[in-house]
Amino acid sequence: MASAYLEFIRIRFLTMLAYRVNYYSGIVVYALNIGVYYFLWKAIYGDASQLGGFSAAQITTYVAVSWMARSFYFNNLDREIANEIRDGSVAVQMVRPYSYLLVKLMQGFGEGLFRLLMFMLPGLVVVMLLFPLSLPAEPWRWLVFFLMIWFSFLINSQINLLTGMCAFFLENNDGVMRFKRVLVDLLSGVVLPISFFPGWARTVLEWLPFQAIAYLPGSVFTGTLNGPEIGYAIGVQAVWSVALILPILLMWRVARRRMFVQGG
C-alpha cells in the first residue's frame, strides 16, 4: 500500500517535469520577488543597523530563504480539491481503495520535491551570487532548516486541505481560498517577520499555525533563533502538524455524509 502512495509522489514529480513554462516563469517571478523585496528592505533599513531583532544582512538572508522555502512548501491542493469536488470526480476517487486526502498530500509532496530539487537549490545558488547573504556556517543549522521546512510543507498542506474541503459546504469557495492565500502570505512571515509586528499582534500570531510555516524556519536559518529556542520552534511545528489532523478528519467525516455532486 505504501508503495502506491510513493507512486503518487513519483507521478506528480514527472508531471511537473513535463510542464516547462511553469518552471521558467516561476524562476523569473521568484528572482524578481526576491530582488524587489531586497531593495525594499534596504530602503526600510536606511542607516539603521537593527530592526525587529534582525540586522540588515540577516533580513536579506531571511527574505531570500523564505521565498525559496515557499517554493517548496507552496502548492495548490486547495484549488485541486475544490475543482474535483465541483466537477464531481471526487466521488469516483472516494470509491477507490486509498485515502483521498493522503493521496492529495502525496501529490503535493511530489510537487514540492520537484521544486526543491529543480528550483530551490539552484535558485539559492543564484541568489547567493546576486545578493550578499549571510548563510549559516554550522552544518547542523542547514539540517535543522530542512527538517523544519518539511513541517512547513505539512502544515501548509493541511491548511490547504481544510480550505479545499470547504467546497463541500459552499457552492463556491473561491473567496475562501483567496482569503486563505493572503492570510498565509501575510501571517506566516514570508513578507514580514513576525517580530516586526506590534506586541499585541505578535501574541495573537504566536497562537496561530501560520508562523510555523515561514517565520520559524526562516529565523532559525538566519540565526535570530538560537539554542533552546530552536527546539521550542520545532516543537511548535510538530504540535501544529498533529493538532491540524483533528479538524481535517472531522471535516472529512461530515463532508462525506453530506456530499452532493453539482451538475456531474
Binding site: 510542464y19 516547462r20 513554462v21 511553469n22 516563469s25 516561476g26 523569473v28 517571478v29 524578481l32 520577488n33 530582488g35 524587489v36 531593495f39 525594499l40 534596504k42 530602503a43 526600510i44 533599513y45 536606511g46 539603521a48 530592526l51 525587529g52 495548490n76 459552499l170 457552492e171 463556491n172 473561491d174 473567496g175 475562501v176 483567496r178 482569503f179 492565500r181 493572503v182 492570510l183 502570505d185 501575510l186 513578507v191 514580514l192 516586526f196 509586528f197 506590534p198
Partner: protein
C-alpha cells in the same frame, strides 16, 4: 462592421452579461460578500505591511508614510477596475484545457471581449472605492492642494494604468495558447501584481528599468500618483502613463490575436 457599430455591439453584450451575472450572483448571495471581503483582505494585507514597516522607520527613501499610502490608494483604483474586467485567473484551465475557447471562437464577437465579459466581477470595484477613500484621506493629511483639473487628470491616469494592466495580462493569458500546461501562468499573474507601488527610486537600475520599460508596473502606481504629490512631482513620467498604457494595450492585443490564431482546440 464600422468601428462604432462594433463598439455599440460590445456594449450591448456587456449589458446582457452583467444582467446574467447579477442573476447568477443572487442565487449565491453569501459568495458575493466573501468575495468582496477576500479582495479587500488582499489590499489590507499590503497596507498592514506598510503600516508595520513604518513603525520601524520614518521614511522609505525620502518618501513619508502618508506619501507611500497615497500611492497605494491610487494603485487600488486602477487595480479594482482591472480586476473587475480581467479576472482571468483560471483562463488556461477553463478555456484551453477544457476547450471552452472553441465555443467562444464560434461566436460573432471579439474573443477577448467575450472572455472578459464571461468573467466580469463587479465586487472588485469596491476595492477601487476603498482605494479612492484611502487616497483622499492621504491627500488631506499631506495638505495637498486640490486644483480644478485634478479630477480630470486622475481619470486620464487611471485609464492609462488600467490599460497597462490589461495589456500585460492579455499578453500573459495569451501565453496559454502557446503551451499546454495546466496551471499555466496563474501563479505568475498572482505574484507580479504587487510591483510598482513603492517609490521607484529605492530599486537599482536593472529593476527600475524592468518596471518602467519591460513590465511597466511602475505606471500603475508610483509614476501617475507622483503627479499629485508635490514633493515628488515627476511630470514627464506621470504624463507618460496614458501613452505607455496605449502602447502596452496595443502590444497585448496583438499577442492575444496571434495566440488565438495559433489555437487549435484541446479536443474533448
Amino acid at each position: 462592421m464600422a468601428v462604432t457599430d462594433k463598439l455599440l455591439f460590445s456594449l450591448s453584450l456587456f449589458r446582457e452579461y452583467l444582467a446574467n451575472y447579477l442573476k447568477t450572483k443572487m442565487t449565491y448571495r453569501a459568495d458575493f460578500w466573501v468575495e468582496v471581503l477576500s479582495d479587500l483582505m488582499f489590499n489590507a494585507a499590503n497596507l498592514i505591511f506598510i503600516f508595520v514597516v513604518f513603525r520601524h522607520t520614518a521614511a522609505l527613501g525620502d518618501w513619508s508614510e502618508a506619501e507611500v499610502v497615497f500611492v497605494y490608494g491610487y494603485f487600488m483604483i486602477p487595480y479594482g477596475i482591472f480586476s473587475c474586467f480581467f479576472s482571468l485567473w483560471d483562463f488556461s484551465e477553463r478555456y484551453i484545457v477544457k476547450g471552452e475557447m472553441d465555443r467562444v471562437l464560434t461566436r460573432p464577437a471579439g474573443s477577448l471581449i467575450q472572455v472578459m465579459l464571461e468573467n466580469v466581477d463587479p465586487p472588485q470595484l469596491v476595492g477601487s472605492l476603498v482605494g479612492f477613500i484611502i487616497m483622499a484621506s492621504a491627500w488631506a493629511s499631506l495638505g495637498l492642494p486640490v486644483d480644478w483639473y485634478d479630477p480630470l487628470v486622475l481619470i486620464v491616469m487611471v485609464l492609462g494604468s488600467v490599460m497597462v494592466y490589461a495589456g500585460i495580462y492579455a499578453a500573459l493569458s495569451a501565453v496559454s495558447f502557446f503551451t499546454d500546461s495546466p496551471t499555466g501562468i496563474t501563479p505568475l499573474i498572482w505574484n507580479i501584481q504587487n510591483y510598482g507601488r513603492y517609490p521607484i527610486e529605492i530599486y537599482n537600475r536593472t529593476i527600475r528599468f524592468f518596471l518602467t520599460w519591460v513590465l511597466p508596473f511602475a505606471f500603475v502606481g508610483v509614476y501617475p500618483a507622483s503627479f499629485f504629490l508635490e514633493r515628488h512631482q515627476n511630470f514627464a513620467m506621470a504624463w507618460l502613463t496614458p501613452v505607455v498604457g496605449a502602447v502596452v494595450m496595443f502590444v497585448g492585443l496583438r499577442i492575444w490575436n496571434l495566440g488565438v490564431r495559433r489555437y487549435r482546440g484541446a479536443g474533448s
